[in-house]
Amino acid sequence: MTDLLEDRIAISTDGSVTALSGKVEFGQGIRTGFAQIVADELDVALERVTVLMGDTDRVPHDFGTFGSHSTQQEAPILRRAAAFGRGQLLARAATRLGVTVDRLDTKDGHVVSGTTRIPYGELVATEPLSGAVPDEVAFLPEQRRRYVGRPLPRVEARDIVTGRATYAADVRLAGMLHGAIVRPPVRGAKVKSVDDATARAMPGVVAIVRDGDLVGVVAERADQARAAADAVDVDWLAGRPDEGPDADIPLREDPVIETALAGAATRRTAQYVLPSIANAPIGPGAAVADVTAEGATIYGATHRPFGLREGVAKRLGLSEETVHFAPRMSSGTYGRSSSIDVALEAAVLSKRAKRPVNLQWTREEEFAYSPSRPEVTLEVSGGLDANGDIVAWSFDEHTANLHTAGWFDPDPERAGGTQGRNAIPPYRIPHLNVVLHMEPTPLRTANFRSLAAAENVFAIESFVDELAHAAGQDPVAFRLRHLDDARLRATIEAVAARSGWGRTPLARHGLGIACTIYHGTPVTQVAEVEVSDDGVVRLVAVWAVVDPGFVINPEGVRNQVEGGIQQSASWTMFEELRHHDGRIAATSWDTYPIATFRDAPERIDVLVAGDASQPSTGVGEPGAVPTAAAIANAVFAACGARVRELPMRPERVRAAMAAG
């Protein structure tokens, strides 16, 4: 598909620059990175660049912001567009001055020639920049870059620290009402009957809405809407049975895997279990819908602006062109907002109330009804030959579909990239058999940071550690002797050096290592833990080395990797979304604790060792992927307890100590 300059870059007559992207910002820092790229290639000050993202009336179509792909996909396009735009500005100035382009240069938003300085704004006064962006364009030489490669704070930072940043729930429109939803006891229950007599008479209530199995209240104030929703009496018909495909999908097949395992000099088998976990954003899902007979505007946050537009149009019976999605700051999404649930509900309420409606879920709703990561069980068998080399590896991943993504493709190639992500180990293994088992689930699920990679890599990297110990080898040396990828090897060697791998740790302390390549980004982590006699694990420190290729904002990369580690440590140590018969037991931070300031490790040391000769790859998810195994391996090193089921509660650690 050809990219048009006018779809990507607009320069105003005052010289300010707007760059356009279908990707969305939710804290991963891509708006800042994109601004750095455009400012450099257009040769303007960073402050003059605004990056407009995800607004369906303005930006080019985009499938969605997933898989740590944004920088990889968008950075080259924006860079080419900006460079092409700079070329057009030079050409226009050359015509105007009657000189050849080689006599001209750019400087800080101006075309310059000797003492003549023409502001960019003057050059676009009669005709905006446009045209198909060619594949090959002339870039500014590296030494003239002012922003790319430099550590810069986020462009939204001032608005965030002053409270000015506008999240979906902060949108205020004239005549706006507030909504609240009446929830069934279990997901997918059907409405039998509704008694809204009490609710109707409550203060501030404007409308009680029933639309199929959606029951909600619209009121003048949010607290009034909630109180009235709690007073609506709905008779529900039981929930939905488990859902999702039931299929076995071979990702790698070895017809002689059983023979190879049987013939191994040493054989090990283990099962790893991870619970369902919640996205648990600090801000529950929210959206504001303004629906009229002519169309709809939705203010919110989603990974899929165009998917949201399509979904809302369908639900309201409108044509897609009449629906406008206007993104606001995201209150935290790690996959959760790939679902457009809140926007659909707000849209229905607004349509019925004929007024704009602001809907923010409660904390209880966010835990009980928003999509979660499914439970996963990983079964691994491995065999070593007499030299201690891995000869055979059989891996069975049991997981569930990600409903709200709306897709499941049983093609092994596709499934291996989604629900089976990172199930193939990076190691050199002669006999490799990997099967993805898709199983129905009672949960409402969605894409969750790294999809299945965090789960698969917990099992793979724990098991490699078990094999290393079975072979009597150092876990770093054992990994290196089975790895060919030079960039991954380099991260392992670097993190071993930074963490002082091989040193004698303090009493009760242990170091564990884990590595992965996630969507082209190699990352290796070493965790240091302290384990008490009664099985309490304290995460002391994590060292990470990451190679995301050419680095646009090293501080942004560090922040993402640190955050990935901290969040993943929280999953590993504390988190489990308990449920029974389709009913989620967690309703608050008391019943679903996450890591706090008290639990943060003493240090998270991230070295960004990007190979600048390689294309930029993502960092939003990779940091979260190896942490669980690094912690589990460190626990083993500290006390000999091999914990194969998460979260790492003291009783599990004590049981593993006794078994070890």
């Binding site: 002053t162 607290d223 600090i282 890591a595 943060a600």
Partner: protein, 151 residues
């Protein structure tokens, strides 16, 4: 009911339901949306404001209780378009990702430094323990608070 509030040094009069929380009054009556809803039971810190010098959960405080206090919100910390040392330090340390918890963290940090200008790292952790962050910027936020304290 009629309630008179003092917020960020200014007087505000509102007519709200008897049980209205300070959080709902700030957000829905006064349009001061920098204070965020997170959990409604004071466990996450997103809605923190400074009440009589202490960081308090505005979701647990009734507007009536708040009327007897001097309230400061995230919008009122800095004068004009400037930033306070705490806000500057959060920017300098890039101590945010989605930013939803940041208002509350800035409030807690401000209240801490006003009563204890040179806290230890352990004090920072304890004082901000109710401020949950899901994106995982705890380490950066600790550095930001200590950096602001150095100023």
């Amino acid at each position: 009911m009629q309630i008179a509030l003092r917020i960020n040094g200014s007087a505000h009069a509102v007519d709200v339901p008897r049980n209205a929380t300070l959080l709902s009054v700030l957000r829905d009556d006064l349009g001061m949306t920098g204070t965020r809803y997170g959990c409604g039971i004071g466990r996450c810190g997103a809605c923190f404001v400074i009440g009589d010098g202490r960081a308090v959960a505005s979701c647990l405080l009734s507007a009536e209780q708040a009327s007897r206090m001097e309230i400061r919100t995230v919008e009122g910390l800095a004068e004009d378009s400037g930033l306070t040392p705490v806000q500057e330090a959060f920017v300098a340390e890039d101590a945010m990702q989605c930013g939803y918890c940041t208002s509350g963290m800035v409030i807690s940090a401000t209240a801490l430094l006003e009563r204890s200008p040179h806290p230890t790292e352990a004090e920072v952790r304890e004082s901000l323990a109710t401020n949950l962050c899901r994106c995982g910027v705890y380490g950066r936020a600790i550095r930001a608070v200590l950096r602001a304290a150095d100023r």
